[in-house]
């Protein structure tokens, strides 16, 4: 998902009996659905895993501004322009809430930013694909936000208080994001032939990357068990992926669009859709930095950060002057 490759630092899941009293008390509180707050004792692995997960999530929101932001100046109507701008602005807000949640664990936003810009920290693979047409904005809202919401709703119940609270705020604000995307798709699907083609083309390009957002298959997802025991991951990757396919296929049918998967078929027995294998090589390449837009995305963030340094420093200089003037009075 937005945090697809979180390396947990725990060494396999310990049973309660194997834990020392402090860790056992911690795990028992988690098992009892009691939230962990920043100043409380927590295992080192829990802290480090959370910092990675929350900061990856935050980075994804920030980098996620770019592919859609690319179309704000070209949105086709005044309403669409305002809606898209408000949505991309929300993403900046969500990044901000999440950075703040991570900061309660003892890491600074500047440090997290440096890690993103140096390529050390990861962000969701999905944002390394280009937005080529206006329909991509519809497809992103519908599919990418749809997938994100599916992941984020359960995280509202995660064990770490600040993360849970940030997620509650994010989910509340994001409720319109998927709808605005689908609304764009409805207009295109009912529009001119060129618009219909645009819509189908966008679905063709975004379908597989969207399914990969949920992360590698469960049997390759080595760190899930510990994260689930800690309740900072609430569902397995495959569970959520299946849920997404089941919910989205009828939505595509309503639009009169074809999901680009010849193996997609309703399985009466399972009560779910079967779907084709995903190209996990592509996923790992994109995560490693070799996707179509990885370089451009990082460069854009580096530019914003470097070009903005004088602004941030100038304001600090003024605040210091003002403080010393007040002190002198």
């Amino acid at each position: 998902m937005y945090a697809q490759e979180v390396k947990s630092t725990g060494k396999g899941v310990k049973s309660l009996d194997e834990m020392d009293p402090q860790e056992r008390a911690f795990q028992e509180r988690i098992d009892a659905d009691i939230k962990i707050e920043p100043k409380e004792w927590m295992p080192d692995g829990y802290r480090k895993t959370l910092i990675r997960q929350i900061s990856q999530h935050a980075h994804s929101e920030i980098v996620g501004q770019l592919p859609e932001g690319n179309w704000i100046t070209r949105a086709p109507t005044l309403d669409r322009k305002a809606i898209l701008l408000a949505k991309v602005q929300d993403e900046a807000g969500h990044g901000l809430y999440l950075y703040c949640a991570a900061e309660t664990l003892g890491v600074s936003r500047d440090q997290m930013t440096e890690d993103l810009l140096s390529g050390k920290a990861k962000y969701s693979s999905i944002f390394n694909y280009p937005t080529l047409t206006w329909a991509d904005i519809g497809a992103i809202g519908w599919l990418v936000d749809g997938a994100a919401i599916m992941n984020q709703v359960p995280i509202q119940r995660c064990s770490f208080g600040p993360y849970s609270r940030a997620m509650i705020r994010v989910c509340k604000e994001e409720s319109f994001h998927q709808r605005q995307g689908y609304d764009i798709m409805i207009k295109l699907a009912n529009g001119t032939n060129a618009q219909k083609e645009m819509a189908q083309d966008a679905l063709n390009r975004w379908w597989h990357p969207s399914l990969m957002m949920f992360g590698p298959p469960d049997d390759q997802s080595v760190h899930s068990a510990q994260s689930m025991a800690w309740k900072i991951k609430m569902n397995t990757n495959d569970e959520l992926r299946q849920k997404f396919v089941d919910e989205t296929v009828p939505q595509a049918e309503y639009l009169g669009l074809t999901v680009p998967d010849p193996d997609l078929k309703w399985n009466e027995e399972r009560g779910h859709y079967d779907f084709g294998e995903l190209d996990w090589n592509e996923f790992y390449e994109v995560i490693k930095g070799n996707g179509p837009c990885n370089r451009e995305r990082l460069e854009a963030r580096q530019r914003a950060w470097t070009d903005g340094a004088w602004f941030r420093e100038g304001l600090v200089a003024h605040a210091e002057k003002r403080a010393s003037r007040v002190a002198a009075e």
Binding site: I62, Q65, L66, G69, I72, T73, R74, A75, P76, T77, L78, D79, R80, K81, A82, L85, A86, V88, Q89, A92, G93, G95, L96, Y99, W134, I184, K187, G191, T192, A194, Q195, A300, R303, A304, W305, D307, G308, A309, W310, F311, R312, E313, G314, L315, V316, A317, H318, A319, K321
Partner: protein, 251 residues
């Protein structure tokens, strides 16, 4: 008073909001700090909202059946009536803030007067806009002062921006025959009065910001007559691409 002048006023106000909002919206995702990214987007959103009101009124008053979107996306360079200041490229963040400040310091007293317009349609839109613009002006003034009186580097950048943009400030309060007619009938303010307020406000704030108003600049004008700067065609090209390449399509 004929509706032609009111139509023209609505176009001028709407085009200013639209073109400035368009420039600001390009910063989304690229501003120097997250908090700033969000704040600037709020201002862009306000301006796009105001555009809908102004161009909506202009569309209602036009002889052909038109919408605000038609006016925004299907007019050419010569038909746009915004001032030259708002179409100047974003440049660095200091340039964007200075452009905003110079505009807000004009926008606010104009709306303050339009609230009392004898034309209710105009007064209503001004009433809706002025709360937002009060905050725009507070914020841009605050930032110009902080950055002007900040580090040596931030002072240098803000002074550079002021030097570059100053020549587009005269036009804001330079009346033409339409302005005169609007002022005579109590629909819009006398631009001479606005000029006094604008000049005074700028002088005081820039002094506090430790910035110097450039001396002897030749003022540029033409926006109200549709005579724009060269970059403006590119701005429209980008903004209008979908409507132009898909005639008649609904979005």
């Amino acid at each position: 008073m004929d509706d032609n002048s009111v139509h023209e006023l609505a176009l001028r106000m709407g085009d200013n909001c639209l073109i400035l909002g368009q420039g600001l919206s390009a910063w989304c995702g690229h501003a120097p700090a997250l908090e700033e990214d969000i704040a600037l987007a709020n201002i862009a959103l306000d301006l796009i909202g105001q555009t809908k009101h102004w161009l909506g009124l202009a569309a209602d008053l036009s002889s052909e059946k038109k919408t605000a979107d038609d006016l925004a996306f299907l007019r050419d360079v010569r038909e746009f009536k915004n001032c030259l200041l708002v179409e100047q490229s974003n440049g660095d963040y200091g340039n964007t803030l200075m452009r905003q400040f110079l505009f807000d310091a004009w926008h606010y007293p104009v709306l303050e007067a339009l609230v009392k317009s004898s034309d209710k349609r105009i007064a209503d839109i001004a009433e809706k806009s002025i709360k937002e613009v009060t905050y725009h002006l507070e914020r841009s003034t605050d930032l110009v002062i902080r950055l002007g009186d900040g580090s040596a580097e931030s002072n240098k950048r803000m002074q550079g921006a002021l030097n570059r943009l100053w020549r587009y400030t005269g036009e804001l309060t330079e009346p033409d025959s339409i302005d005169d007619a609007l002022a005579d009938s109590g629909i819009a303010p006398d631009l001479g009065e606005i000029r006094k307020k604008h000049t005074q406000y700028l002088a005081a704030a820039l002094r506090e910001a430790m910035l110097t108003i450039p001396d002897g600049e030749q003022m540029q004008s033409g926006g109200k007559r549709g005579l724009h700067t060269e970059g403006f065609g590119y701005l429209l090209g980008e903004m209008q691409v979908l409507q132009r390449s898909n005639p008649g399509a609904k979005w």
